[in-house]
Point group: C2
Chain length 500, copies 2
């Protein structure tokens, strides 16, 4: 046999920019997504799970003048027909493809939700991964803003069902049409200048009212010391934009009145204000008041992208940032109306509106609120004192599992009992079950409270010492399931009290 | 502005070999996976979700003498460092990478489960897709066959929890070591001949005992008329192989006795039979008798790949094939012990054993049993008779949803009431709620049983005709939630009976 050149061993490492999720992280995300799916379903939305792979043309990321798709997606060429394929970078592009493909078979309007990983071929950074989850709901083919109102109500229900209490979140709604009306009122015809104003508005979150005034006018000295050129509007010209951004009042009626003033005679602006009025009325009718969902023209994220109503969900409670300073948690979901969903495929404009929940940010919020991420109960561990009686131990775990408890028998080398305890420690086992030959002969088992015993475990090496521990109790084998069941999942009583 | 060359519209189609999943298909799979995860968790297994992307070296599919990874995986080259990356083709290769990477932090033994899509760059065929789900559980670092017994018991629990009743499945266990013992007894030293025997054994399922005898000897005339050369053993030489394959008896003790005879003086063979004995004893102790899990040396799938016990789960009930002929459903899960999991990375042998459930086949089985795939209840549809009163309709769906019902308001153009009914039909809505101005003034709503009314719906065009339908009932608005709640989810009573 010819000698095969030895290859170096591959490195065992997660690819750069990717990560692995272990145990509770996976379970907690799945549980949260299942809760959200339940709400989406109750609102009449149907699940869609499209393939992770799309043709590059369908994703719309193909540049005809380069021989490779541009950065941003992970793409490869099919060997058979040289077609470029790519991993989806979001869940909206696949929805467009699926809707265009199946529009004659799907109901109109089509309400769909989708949850799953997406991939971005970007330079990874701290907390920025190249694979992450999205969780979207969209309504396709419904021109009425009743669809937008519904999406916002559904978003409020989702936040509450996963564990964000009322009062800890606020969904804010703005409307691109109102902004268009403002721009019309200002008489800005020049496309470039309109784009400049849009870009300036996008900074409102960061620079505030005074900053926006400067940026719309002559310019502004940045915090870093750099001078940022302004759009060059006069103060009078800039006024409607500022009026628009700052028009939120204490009650919705007043906010809408301010907006009507800001859009002046503009028809599209008036239509936009009417839409916001309709949305507010519908939400009120459904019981969603401004304590949960509010018209707020200072929402600027996505105003450049969307064509009608724009929504953003913020968590309003404070957390501590990495330096221990209090700050608001901020945005966990956003969306809005866009009318060109399938135009690339069919040439037709189809109205659509939708929301995307930031799965990782929402999980982080639940962790910050202590809703998830607490100590996970490990399994009950049945230890192995005598490897010839593995059948007896197996019968114990079978009994415990049949009662719905999480239980396992120790499957490593049982010779060193200390290793079994170290294992139980690593697994966060609440209880260890011990049955040596002496216990066996007397028809009893020893239950050990591992939380209580943890501090001492390191010092113990022999079985004899172990039996003198105060954190353990001896019960008849016949009471195993009863006592362990009563102990697990409660914190009031000790094993001693329960064993009686 | 320079004229941009118009690009042709992209085609809206699912990439070849991939598919999209809609509505109930997604929900049913997620529900089944959640049930299986619950069992895995109860057995002490922890979730692991590794990234979909791995380096090609970690996957072990890289051939050094070609400039592209070989077929089988979807791979691409990183722009930054020219490294080849690929989508995972199964869940075992990522487990090997993760375990090698984190082995000092993970408990030993490490029980992990994983569920998710995998990708194969293969020629697609009918029912063969290039993206599909796997659902695995493996125990790493447990040399004892108690781990194998546990996996088999867990598999039985999984099948029952998703809806395969006891008696409709059988888990069969074989052992590669027993086969090795048989080969040793035969005195087959030649590697090539041993491989030939292994390949022949693999055909036992298809050609049966007589066929295997022929193939081990001179050869066999195929059903297609082709002559297949045999391994060239004498009848006496072939006898131990046949004895091995046919050694299953009515009870486990007798099966094991037959196997002991088949392995003769071979030490590895005897060790293999002992392992099967231990597994059978442990399973019996846990209450898993041979009606559920049985020692069966005729299981040959995977014998070439695994190094110890091998398992296969078969569904034993009959279904009709595409031509209407009855046949057994067949295999839905398989696995076994393999001892080289992380050797590629670390050089060390680490014992591992695991199971993989065929997600799509198990879903197909549940569909064949009528456990899933029945008519899905669509949402309750609140129709829109007067678009200015959308707030009232929104309040109705909010009330219905608050009671846990799936409900939606019609969001298309409400002008043509017939379209609303067609929509309800497409959505499989059980009930439509109708409230025109007349009903509104009288404080009532009309409930329409859409299943009953479906046949007539096509003939109806005006609201007047509609109101004369027998499948509808008028109730006070205040009773909306009560009556609809009582009607949905039961089939005994009509809307009339419930409305009283």
């Amino acid at each position: 046999m010819a000698k095969v050149k030895k290859q170096p061993r591959p490195k065992a490492e997660t690819p750069k920019g990717f990560r692995d999720y272990f145990g509770a992280e996976v379970a907690e995300r799945n549980a949260m997504l299942a809760q959200i799916a339940e709400v989406y379903h109750r609102y009449g939305f149907d699940a869609l799970e499209s393939s992770a792979v799309e043709t590059v043309e369908a994703l719309g990321k193909f540049l005809p003048d380069v021989d490779r798709p541009n950065e941003g997606v992970f793409a490869w060429q099919e060997a058979e027909d040289d077609k470029w394929m790519a991993l989806r970078y979001d869940l909206t592009a696949p929805l467009a493809r699926v809707y265009a493909q199946h529009r004659n078979d799907l109901p109109t309007p089509y309400r769909r939700y989708a949850m799953g990983p997406v991939w971005r071929n970007e330079k990874p950074g701290p907390g920025r991964f190249r694979q992450f989850y999205q969780c979207d709901a969209d309504t396709v083919g419904a021109p009425s803003v009743a669809a937008d109102a519904e999406i916002c109500a559904m978003l409020a229900d989702c936040l509450e069902v996963v564990g964000i209490p009322r009062g800890d979140y606020l969904i804010r709604i703005n409307n691109r049409k109102v902004l268009n009306g403002v721009l019309e009122t200002m008489g800005l015809q020049d496309e470039g200048q309109r784009a400049d104003v849009l870009r300036t508005i996008d900074k409102f979150d960061k620079v505030g009212e005074a900053g926006v005034r400067q940026l719309l006018g002559k310019g502004r000295l940045d915090a870093s010391g750099a001078y940022i050129d302004g759009v060059g509007l006069s103060e009078a010209q800039a006024e409607p934009v500022v009026a628009f951004l700052t028009s939120r009042a204490d009650d919705t009626a007043k906010t809408l009145e301010n907006l009507r003033n800001a859009v002046g005679q503009s028809a599209v602006g008036a239509a936009g204000v009417d839409e916001l009025q309709t949305i507010a009325d519908l939400l009120a009718a459904g019981g969603y008041g401004p304590d949960r969902i509010v018209i707020d023209p200072s929402v600027v994220r996505g105003l450049g992208y969307y064509t009608g109503p724009v929504f953003e969900a913020e968590l309003t409670f404070e957390i501590q940032d990495e330096k221990g300073r209090p700050r608001q948690f901020g945005s966990v979901a956003g969306g809005g109306r866009y009318d060109d969903l399938v135009k690339r495929f069919t040439g037709q404009e189809v109205p659509a509106t939708g929301i995307s929940i930031g799965v990782d940010r929402l999980l982080a919020a639940l962790r910050a609120k202590g809703r998830i991420g607490g100590a996970q109960a490990g399994p009950v561990l049945v230890t192995v004192m005598d490897r010839d009686r593995m059948g007896d131990y197996q019968a114990m775990v079978a009994d415990l599992r049949a009662a719905g408890l999480r239980a396992e028998v120790y499957l490593g080398n049982p010779k060193n009992f200390g290793n079994q305890l170290k294992y139980a420690d690593k697994r966060d086992c609440p209880v260890a079950v011990i049955e040596g030959s002496d216990e066996r002969n007397r028809g009893v088992v020893i239950l050990k409270d591992l939380a209580l015993g943890k501090k001492l475990a390191a010092e113990i090496t022999s079985n004899e010492e172990w039996k003198e521990q105060p954190a353990q109790v001896e019960i008849p084998r016949a009471r195993l399931v009863e006592v362990v069941s009563a102990y697990i999942g409660q914190t009031e009583k000790s094993l001693f009290e329960i064993a009686g």
